[in-house]
Symmetry: C2
Subunit: 346 residues, 2 copies
Amino acid sequence: MDQQLNNVPHRRYNILTGEWILVSPHRTNRPWQGKTEDKHLEKKATYDPGCYLCPGNTRASGETNPDYKEPYTFINDFSSLLPETNAISLNKGLLQAASEKGICKVVCFSPDHSLTLPLMDIEDITKVVKMWKKEYAELGAKEDINYIQIFENKGSIMGCSNPHPHGQIWSQSSIPTEINKKSLYFKQYWDENKSSLLGDYLDQELELKERILEENKHFVALIPYWAIWPFEAMIIPKRHIQHIGQLTSEEDVAYAEIIKKLTIKYDNLFETSFPYSSGIHQSPTDGKKYPEWHFHMSFYPPLLRSATVKKFMVGYEMFAGPQRDITAEQAAERLNELPEIHYLKQ
Amino acid sequence: MDQQLNNVPHRRYNILTGEWILVSPHRTNRPWQGKTEDKHLEKKATYDPGCYLCPGNTRASGETNPDYKEPYTFINDFSSLLPETNAISLNKGLLQAASEKGICKVVCFSPDHSLTLPLMDIEDITKVVKMWKKEYAELGAKEDINYIQIFENKGSIMGCSNPHPHGQIWSQSSIPTEINKKSLYFKQYWDENKSSLLGDYLDQELELKERILEENKHFVALIPYWAIWPFEAMIIPKRHIQHIGQLTSEEDVAYAEIIKKLTIKYDNLFETSFPYSSGIHQSPTDGKKYPEWHFHMSFYPPLLRSATVKKFMVGYEMFAGPQRDITAEQAAERLNELPEIHYLKQ
Ligand SMILES: O=P(O)(O)O[C@H]1O[C@H](CO)[C@@H](O)[C@H](O)[C@H]1O
Ligand SMILES: O=P(O)(O)O[C@H]1O[C@H](CO)[C@@H](O)[C@H](O)[C@H]1O
C-alpha cells in the first residue's frame, strides 16, 4: 500500500455504493473514557429450557418447536412484514407512503444452544448455507417477493435478544435502498466493461495481497478498501455468480469453510464471542435478469479496541458520513497475526 | 392522517434523501428480552476537577482551559481532520483515495458541568447559537473549508465520553455524503418549483397538524413523516434561509427557545437525561450559491421503550434500509402529552 495513507487523514471511495468514508489513522491513540460494554463470557448450556429457539420449546406465539436436528426455519412471531398486507398507496403532496408485503423468517443454525458459527463444524455450517439457498429459492419464487435479505445479528450489543445460534431472513416486495445503490454501480460497470465490478476488484486485491484475510478454491475473505467498521470484512465468491442459489455443492462447503475461518479470527481477536451483523447482498428476485450482480457477504462488527470498547457511529457519522480510525490494512494485519484455531479449543 | 397506516406495514419516502424507510406499526407490542442500558441518574456537580472540559482544568494536550464564563471553543485534541494535510490523491485501478483537510473543534456549551441544553436558560442557549454562527462564519471563510458539520453527541450511549455539556464541529474540504444527497433533492425541487422543498413541506405539516411538536414565531419542531429513529425530530426555520449565519438576533432567541422546549420534552419522556445525536444541515461554504438549501437541525435519539431499551439499527437496517416500529404520528402524540416543564423542576 501507499504507506503515505497510514498517517494522513483521507477519504476512500466505495465502488459499490458511490459513497466516501473518512479515515483518520493518526487518531488511533486517542484515550477512551466513554462507555464500555459488558464482556459476556458465561458458558452456555447446550439446551436452555427458557429459550424460545431450542428444540421442543414453546414460543411466544404458543407454537412448539419440533425436536429439530438440522437447521430449522419458521415464520418470525413478530414479523415486521406481513404477506397479506392490503395494497395502499398514500400520496398527499410531499407525503409519500405505500404499503409493503413481505415474509420474515428465523433460521436456527443448530439445535445446540451453546454454539455459534465459529464453533460449529464445517459440515453443519454447510447445512446452514443449504438452508439459505432453499429459502432464497422458495421465497424468491413467490410473486410478491422481490428481494430477500438474509442476515445475522450476533451478540446483545447488536440487538440480538436470544443467544441461541440463529439468523433471520426478511423478504419483501420492494427493493431496499442498499440494494438499489449497489445495483446501480454494478450495472454501470457491467455496461462499460462487460465484467463484474466486484470480480475485477477481487483480482486487484489478490494481486496486491494487502487486505486478504482468507482464501480457498472458491472464496476470498478480505477487508474491503472502503471498510467502515473497524474490522469489517467481506466474503466474495471467485466465480461471478449473482446469488447463492447458483452455488455448487462444492462451493457450499468452501463457503461454509471460509465463514468458519473468518469468524474464528474474529473470536480470537479479543478472545470473546465477537459480535457483528452479517448479511448477504445478492440479485433481486423480481424476475428480471441481473448479469451485473456479484453476490457477497459482509460482516459489520462494532468492536474497536477490546471486547468492551466499540466504535460509535454517531454525530459526525450520522450527519456527514462514516469515519474510522485504523486503516483497512492495519485491521487486516491484526487479524492475520492471529491463530487459525479457536481460542476455546487451543 | 390516513388511519390505515396505523396498522399496516408500509414504507415512507424521505423527500430530502430519496430513501425509503420501513414502518411496522403492528409490531409495537413485541416483548424485549435483549440488551438494556444503564439508567444514569447520578446528580452531577457543577464543577468536576477530573473533567477536561471544565474551566481552569488541564486537557490531554497539556493545555489549560481558561476560566471561561460563556460558551468556549477550542481545537479538538484528537482531531479526526487536520488543517495541514498534504494533498495526496491515490487512484490505483478500483482503489480510490484522496487526502482530506479539515479542522475539528469542541464547543463547551456552559462552564457549569452539571447542565445540559434542556436545563440551561434560553439566554445561555442563545449564546451557544451565536457561537455556532461565529464558528460557521470563521471556519467557512477559510479556503480549504467547504462544509461545516455542527453536532452534539449526548449521553454515553451515543459515544459521548464526557458528560460536560458540549458539542463538536468538524469542518472539511470535501462535501460529505449526507449533504450531497440533500443538495440534490433541494436543487431538483428548486429548479422545478422555485420554492424551498423543506418550506413547502413545512407548510403542509402546519396545515395537517399531526406531527408538530412545538412552534414559535420563527421555528417549528416536528417529527418528520419519514423519521427513522423512534423519537427523531427536526427543527425547521419558517424563513427560507440557507444557513445559521443568516439568523437575525430575534431568530437566535427563537431557535434557542425551541431547542429548549424540544429537549425538555425528550427528558420528560422517560424521566431521564435523554440521549441523542443532533446535527445541523446547511449550505456548504465552498463559495457557490445554494438558494435551494433550507437549513434545519435534526435529533436522532436511540431510546424506544424506556430509559433503558433502545432501538437497534442492525442487520436488516444496515443491509437493506432503516426500519421503525411506532409511527411518526404516534411518537408526536406521546411527546405532545408531556408537560412543558422539565421533570427535575416540577
Ligand atoms: O469525538 P468523541 O466525542 O471522542 O467521539 C465520538 O464522536 C465522534 C464523532 O461523531 C465519533 O467518531 C466517535 O466514534 C464517538 O465516540
Ligand atoms: O428481530 P429481532 O432480533 O428481535 O430484532 C433485532 O433485529 C431487527 C432486524 O435487524 C431490528 O429491527 C431490531 O431493532 C433488533 O433488535
